[in-house]
């Protein structure tokens, strides 16, 4: 059989394959609520995550508009990118170190009340978000819904930022601003402990 004849037979077969419908299949969804709760619980299950994410909110509150909403928008989006990389199997070395560094540097930004250009602040938050997403976005407990787990995970992260922003509202008062900077220093100190644990 010539190559042309083989090709002329291959195309209809390919078309048939593409159009071949398989039967529909009904099933009962499982693990919806459990998946949501697991996702909701995950970001608050580790102090390193909690401190870093609350720090994002605190820093945003210090910087004011538009950073106060740009940073919390940036973090979940880039965190999802980190989770995506983890889900498709792209390795990310030094995840725990990266998470510890996020607490150190974000805490330092809050403690110093640093005011870098908006792009730099968003970039800093985004880089660390990748580590957080990679570490925790992929740990779906067996038998639970990936969709509701993801919703819970993102909602919890966003609520942690909102908590930071809400706490940061005291920044308008002088004592409040000092208290936030002290809180930032404490986050940095905690980050150093996390880093010590990660490297030893």
């Amino acid at each position: 059989m010539s190559r042309g004849a083989r090709r002329s037979r291959a195309w209809p077969a390919l078309l048939l394959l593409a159009l071949a419908a398989t039967p529909a299949h009904a099933h009962v969804e499982k693990g919806q609520a459990a998946g949501f709760l697991a996702g909701l619980h995950h970001p608050i299950s580790g102090l390193d995550h909690v401190l870093a994410m609350v720090s994002v909110g605190l820093w945003g509150a210090q910087l004011g508009a538009p950073a106060v909403w740009l940073l919390p928008v940036t973090f979940p989006m880039v965190m999802a990118c980190g989770g995506f990389l983890g889900l498709i199997g792209v390795p990310l070395p030094g995840v725990e170190i990266g998470i510890a560094l996020s607490a150190i540097l974000l805490g330092l930004m809050v403690a110093l009340e640093a005011r870098p250009p908006l792009g730099l602040a968003a970039g800093l938050v985004g880089i660390f978000a990748i580590f957080h997403g990679h570490a925790h976005g992929t740990e779906l407990p067996p038998g639970q819904s990936g969709l509701t787990y993801s919703i819970g995970f993102v909602v919890a992260t966003g609520l942690l930022h909102a908590t930071g922003i809400a706490i940061g509202l005291v920044h308008r008062w002088r004592l409040g601003a000092i208290a936030i900077r002290v809180a930032g220093a404490l986050v940095t100190a905690a980050g150093l402990v996390f880093l010590w644990r990660a490297v030893t």
């Binding site: 593409a18 419908a21 529909a24 909403w69 889900l87 498709i88 992929t138 969709l147």
Partner: protein, 199 residues
Amino acid sequence: MRRLVSALAIGLAAVLLPARADAHLVTTGLGPVYDGIGHLLASPEDLVPAIALALYAGLRGASGGRRALLLLPLAWLAGGLIGLRAPVTFPFPLGAVSFMVLGVLVATDLALPGGAVAALAVALGLAFGFENGAALAVAGGGARNLIGIAAALFVVVALVSAFVVALERPWKRIAVRVAGSWIAAVGLLLIGWSLRGAR
């Protein structure tokens, strides 16, 4: 060149290969219309994109909200009626992609031309309605379930888009955009789950 074309054709065929339609069954005991209402409200994979579209339509103003309010349920119903006769589903993660696209639109508050909201509503309605109809066909459901879904959609879109249209303070509109970023983030994770084959 021919090898490249052949490889692309095979890849396209693999992507277009129809998959099985899956449905989860919501039985309220009150009849198929209420089952349809229950289905939408208990299905985040359907409900969240509808809410995201309503958020975006609301951000585009009252005219955008009105377009989505009418077109989304009608297109969903039409797609569902087609799907009832063709029980197959899309071979790509429709939900995840819609989460991503609509979430980014809401987060960026992108000012698309006036007809874009209508086009989005029709596309979303036809696609999701088709999937719902295909799944209902094998689950023993029918047009009355679809009527319930469309009715619930009408209420959801009306409430959500009207809520957003009524927002006047800038920070409240920003809160809507933050919600959009969350939806987009969930969409990206869902694409990851799809590629990983977790579900």
